[in-house]
Amino acid sequence: MKSFYRYFWLTVAIGVTAVCSSCNKKIPLESCTQVSRPADISPDYSDTVIPPNVAPLNFRILETGESFFVRISSSHVSPVEVYSRNANIRIPLRKWKALLRENKGDKLSFDVFVYDSANGWRRYMPILNDIACEPIDSFLVYRFIRPIYDYWTSMRIYQRNIENYKNSLVLEGRFAKVGCINCHSFCNNSPQTMSIATRSAKHGNASLVVHDGNLNKISSTWGYTAWHPSGKLAVYSMNKVRQLVHTTGLELRDVFDLDSAISYYRLDEKAAKTIKEMSDKDRLETYPAWSPDGTYLYYCSAPILWEDRDKTPPDNFDKVQYDLMRISYDVDKDQWGKPEIVLSTNETGMSILLPRISPDGRFLVFAMCDYSCFPIYRPSSDLYIMDLETNSYQKLDAVSSPYSESWHSWSSNSRWLAFSSKRMGGFFTRTYFTYINEDGKASKPFVLPQKDPTYYDSLIQTYSVPELIKQPVAVSARRFSKTACSTRDAANLPVTCATPIIPSSSKPSENDRK
């Protein structure tokens, strides 16, 4: 027995030594063959600007080799060194954080070394990135679903800590027996006031509203939602959405609103109201977004080009283009001004969608595509930025790709933009980040980092509707589920009136999603 324990501990000691020796492998840096280009890595974390609080950018080296070594360095603090027997580089979290923290505003260098028995060690040119001074909001809330057409089983909304890899569930449709959960929206990048729309055959359509930490269910279907910066009201669209499918093409799905309108809900009055000045029955209104001071509501509007409002597909559906509009608002008096055109399709020749204004009020980022109201399904969709001081706009070239870019969200410090892109092949939506400087210039985007560098290589789900928030959503998934299933309605809206009654001059459509 004693000899058994002796041999056991000897084996353990040998194993530990072997592991330690492989960790502390010395790379003969002087005798490396120099390669006159940077190494190919996946995901592409090169020539980009990264926030100082982002999780490690783990990546895979796409060069052939038997051993791999990466040194990550900047001006201050010792470099982080990672040795790996396979091409997957996983950077230790604490060392990475220390490195970024001490080198804000500086360059970050990835020195990649690859070994094979025929050629020895090869050293590639360094991959350079910039570390921004401004951090990004710590949490990202997103919807996690497979690419779907008309049917779905389980939708989930998650929140991901951008500073590490922790992911937690906000709401799962299956537990609440709801069919669809979507349109999560936050006031001022804070989960203290937020909403999630739910649709359920069993529990009815509703919006789960968190206000000052209190969760309530409102039996009203909120589409695309924008919270007034004061938190006193939320403006939302009601959309009669239809989808059709093409026979061929990169993207088969095409979505249009047969009808749409915008309403708002005041929390103090617990009442839903319409905006008479905007309720034109011959126009489609959608995608509300507030200016940071709450004095203007921006939205998108297009003329209805068909007479038959039930036909699918309607005539001229592929000619629908939205203008960018705005309307003034006095939150204390609850009074609306007159709609004004901010940017017209006559000028751009494209459909203008998804306006979002930076919290400092300087820039407005929007998506433009050839036609349609749903830019994620249009490969032509790109992001544009408008300087609200000069009203000039330009394409965010650094962010553009041959595939769809859309669904963007500003960080609370107006320096970072999270957005959805299909640039990895054209089909699966991933979340990317880009740095927007004071002049409105965007950096090359980088994808949300994952612990497993090969994560995106086999992920057949999509990350949709990314929203940056400062703190985590405090309400548990369980509470959200229970509230979604409850019959209590905080708004005391009439059961028969999912949408408020409009005066006869104009009538919004009911939100009608499959």
Binding site: D150, Y151, V245, T247, T248, D254, M424, G425, L459, R478
Partner: protein, 618 residues
């Protein structure tokens, strides 16, 4: 030899041989009759698919979730059903483990009960699989864990209530982590045991309170995927009941020393009872075979498995064995595909029962929730024909919807990968192949294809993709298409698309549109037929006869290579039909005419047109 020693020898060996014999019989029954491989093919088509991924992240997610461990094991074992012999072994081993536990339960409680009751769980598990209603492993493993924990509880047998309660809580907590909501069953077993056997009223109350709190506070969070009730829940409670009854009887009855009866009749009676006890489990298995076994589902699953493996001849052999009255639309669909791939669609399609909707699974969607599994089945099955014809976009859509409804079943991911490769969307295909590479069964296929893609991004030598590219429709249009219009774009794209041509002709045959057969017959010249398929010949003869009858027009069929045998048969059909009409005209029963003609002409197009098409239209 001493009689008592002989008896002891026999009973000791019987105790070993009996379970060996029973479980061997069970294994063979499951392997040969149920064929677990068919359950694998049913997953993601008609039964729920439990995903399993060979991935550290998946394992981590399972280990850090309540009920995750049992889900992980069940999902892994579900994949093993791909090999019938392993699936049968899994079912047998689970049944055997339960039997062992039941034996232990009787032993630790010193109860002399009918040990054959331990076989009941294995029998019920087999019965559940025999109905092809879904995978049962999650339930079975959960119950096995519950019963194992209960047997441990019995075995430790703490007399003091405090320590018994502590043991219960520890086991409850461990089980909750391992199996989730099914732990409730363990709680109930302990409650009933303490109440009925140990008569610890205080402890029973305490445990009951814990259960009530658990149910109200936690269980409603739905941390279990097992149903509220199923037959497999019965054996543990039955065993507990037997133990309780035995204890009750043994406490009440004063034990008297009895001499073994010398009465021959009584001995014979006890022997008879003993034999009956031993035979009951086998009788139950036979009962399953007769009462519960879903032969129809099995035949359909067999056809699906053959279709997946492209064993077309076997599909036709299976179809011949199956009664026509029990055909369904999915049957027909794969039979027609098999006929096409064996080059017999135009010659023999009416040798099998046909339905117009079966060709392309063109079944209208009722929208009813009860239709959900049929919806999945329809979408999943239809992907194949759309791919093979050339509608890659529509196939992609249906496969994506089916993938969502089927909880990510890998065979659909495989089809999506092939579609994207055919459409030269390699990056998207790589993602599907990347996901598939982590599947236990499809992993190798995916990894091989990824390597091939590295070497040759165009996949010039990969026939499954090249064949799709040859027929893929390029022109875009929006909206659904009527059945009649589906083939024109395909033949425009590639006039050598033989499948499109034969399916188009089959559609016209099924709809009774002989004039369209005549209109399109010349397309055969581009498709290198050796001879005109029999049914086309018959349709042309019908067409000529109808033109003659209605318009007095004589159609020249000379250039069409209609065989003399077909002409003769056509004439005989008409003659026999006229005779039958005369004979049965007084009875006014068309069914008699149909039966008369079915004997010799049931496989002809004329028969279908006159008798089967009208039935379908009704």
């Amino acid at each position: 030899m001493n009689i008592s020693k002989t008896k002891e020898f026999v009973s000791r060996h019987l105790a070993i041989l009996e379970p060996v014999f029973f479980f061997t019989a069970l294994y063979l029954f499951v392997l040969l009759v149920i064929e677990p491989e068919l359950i694998y093919y049913a997953s993601g088509r008609v039964i729920y698919y439990y995903p399993f991924v060979m991935d550290g992240r998946f394992l981590y997610d399972c280990l850090t979730t309540v009920g995750g461990p049992v889900n992980y094991i069940a999902s892994f074992l579900d994949q093993c059903f791909y090999f019938s012999w392993i699936g049968a072994l899994i079912i047998t081993v689970i049944g055997w483990l339960f039997w062992l536990l039941s034996k232990k339960a009787f032993a630790v409680t010193k109860s002399k009960c009918i040990t054959e009751i331990g076989f009941l769980f294995a029998i019920l598990l087999t019965a559940a699989y025999a109905s092809y209603n879904g995978h049962q492993l999650l339930i079975a493993l959960s119950l096995l864990a519950v019963f194992a924990a209960f047997v441990i509880y019995l075995w430790i047998d703490l007399s003091k209530s405090f320590f018994a309660a502590l043991l219960f809580l520890v086991e409850f907590a461990c089980l909750y982590y391992l199996i989730g909501g099914a732990v409730f069953i363990f709680g109930l077993l302990v409650v009933f045991y303490e109440l009925l056997v140990k008569k610890h009223i205080g402890l029973t109350g305490g445990i009951f309170a814990v259960l009530a709190l658990y149910y109200a506070g936690v269980h409603s969070g739905n941390f279990s995927e097992i149903p509220p009730f199923c037959l497999m829940y019965i054996p543990p409670f039955l065993i507990l009941l037997l133990i309780a009854l035995y204890k009750y009887r043994s406490n009440r009855t004063v034990r008297k020393k009895t001499r073994p009866s010398k009465n021959r009749l009584i001995k014979t009676f006890y022997l008879f009872v003993l034999i009956l006890r031993k035979l009951i489990p086998y009788g139950l298995i036979l009962f399953i075979f007769c009462a519960v076994f879903n032969n129809r589902a099995k035949s359909l699953l067999q056809i699906w498995s053959y279709a997946e493996k492209q064993q077309w001849q076997k599909i036709l052999e299976c179809a011949k064995r199956y009664p026509e009255s029990q055909y369904n639309i999915f049957f027909n669909y794969d039979i027609n595909r098999a006929l096409y791939y064996t080059g017999r669609l135009g010659d023999d399609m009416f040798s099998y029962h046909q339905h117009p909707f079966a060709l392309l699974l063109s079944i209208p969607d009722s929208g009813s929730p009860a239709d959900a599994s049929k919806k999945l089945c329809r979408k999943a099955q239809k992907v194949d024909i759309l791919m093979e014809l050339g509608y890659l976009g529509h196939a992609r859509r249906l496969a994506s919807e089916a993938l969502e409804l089927a909880n990510g079943c890998p065979y659909l991911a495989k089809k999506l990968a092939l579609i994207y490769l055919a459409e030269e969307q390699n990056e998207t295909a790589r993602v599907y192949l990347g996901a598939l590479s982590k599947d236990l069964i499809y992993g190798r296929f995916a990894r091989d294809l990824l390597l091939r893609l590295e070497k040759d991004p165009q996949l010039t030598d990969y026939e499954p993709v090249q064949s799709l590219r040859r027929v893929a429709v390029q022109k875009d249009y929006v909206g659904d298409y009527a059945l009649g219009n589906i083939f024109a774009p395909l033949l425009q794209r590639n006039s050598h698309n033989k499948m499109a041509f034969e399916y188009m002709m089959a559609t016209y045959l099924l709809m009774g549109q002989v004039e369209k057969i005549a209109l399109n017959i010349s397309r055969m010249n581009e498709l290198e037929y050796n001879k005109m398929p029999r049914h086309y010949q018959e349709a042309m003869l019908v067409y000529a006869a109808l033109r003659q009858q209605r318009f007095g027009e004589k159609i020249n069929l000379r250039g069409l290579s209609i065989s003399p045998e077909t002409i003769k048969r056509f004439q005989e059909y008409n003659a026999t039909g006229r005779k039958a009409q005369l004979r049965y005209s007084k009875s006014k029963n068309p069914e008699m005419i149909r039966q008369q003609l079915a004997k010799d002409f049931g496989d002809t197009y004329m028969f279908y047109l006159n008798f089967e098409l009208t039935r379908v239209e009704k």
